[in-house]
Assembly symmetry: C2
Homo-oligomer: 216 residues x 2
Amino acid sequence: MGKRIIVLLSGGMDSATLLWLAKREFEKVWALSFDYGQRHRVELKYAKELARMASVEDHIIVEVPIYRSIRGSALIDESVEVPKEDYPEDEPPVTTVPMRNLNFLAIAGAFADSLEVDHIGIGVHALDTPYPDCRPEFITAAESAINAGSTLVAKRKVRIHVWAPFLGMTKREIALLGKELGVPYEKTYSCYEGTEPPCGQCPTCRQRKEALAGLL
Amino acid sequence: MGKRIIVLLSGGMDSATLLWLAKREFEKVWALSFDYGQRHRVELKYAKELARMASVEDHIIVEVPIYRSIRGSALIDESVEVPKEDYPEDEPPVTTVPMRNLNFLAIAGAFADSLEVDHIGIGVHALDTPYPDCRPEFITAAESAINAGSTLVAKRKVRIHVWAPFLGMTKREIALLGKELGVPYEKTYSCYEGTEPPCGQCPTCRQRKEALAGLL
């Protein structure tokens, strides 16, 4: 099948770096983005521009309406405030979107089966993130579920790999790699508030600033 | 938390039986149905009536628009004909919807996290179905992925169980159990064509007729 990959692209710095790395490592690259009612929906504009710059085969943007019915997360529920401090140490923060990466990977899996693509790329990094669905054990489990449910696997005996090369890296290390790859970080967006310019105070703005210090 | 469950309800005979069984085995039961552009979308009308008869806590119907972008399955792509014979023996049939149960379980997992429900019920049976995402190894893998990605698990240390009590049963055995439970099979619907009355010839009509023979 050649080396083919669908990259989950939010428009943030991690997934942009992954897209540039995928362009180096794979022959054909698709980008997949999600409109899930996120407060920072503006990120999709950045995702589009990044996909265009990376000359992907196709940039698929899909609606994920279920999060309209789910309350309690600061990223999808306007009645919950985005915190203005670092992530908490001990438990999933209020910015957690329940089962987000499993939903995103399941959708990517459907496209992988349909387009006959045997890699799905996701830019999660476990070292400095508080989200349960960014940990290596989640990625491994999701990969098993995708393969067990796949038509491609059942028909062609080809395994689908969930490629998460940043799992063991810090955000700073991702930024250093991206700098080498020529990722246009000025075209990426990460703020949870969804304002332009970014708020500068939410957890993801703080992490981004540290990661990119001296590199822009 | 008490015994709480979200049951995936298509409106067909298997999920209706599961709903009636769940009513017997659990204290609080939610039903979750999917509008994914299926040719047999009329099943949702039956699902609603079944949910009403079962007096569930809530019947959630969610849109799953991704299947509008995916081609090649007879259940979602009007250009592909529904076969008029039994399922093939060796490979996933043209009625396979790629990664359907993983998408449905991922959505159920998001609601489980959000509603704090620790069981998800699914009426798959592996013995006489050709779909990869109805096999026990898929259910086990999906359960692991849900638990690895769950906020509920991370916060409360409660595991989410994917309850699939029909895995080892034939459709006939499900029907016999349902008869005992008083499932109103005349209010269920399974035809892939989506016609009223059902076409009587597609694989699921054939299976249903055999399963219910002498019971209606």
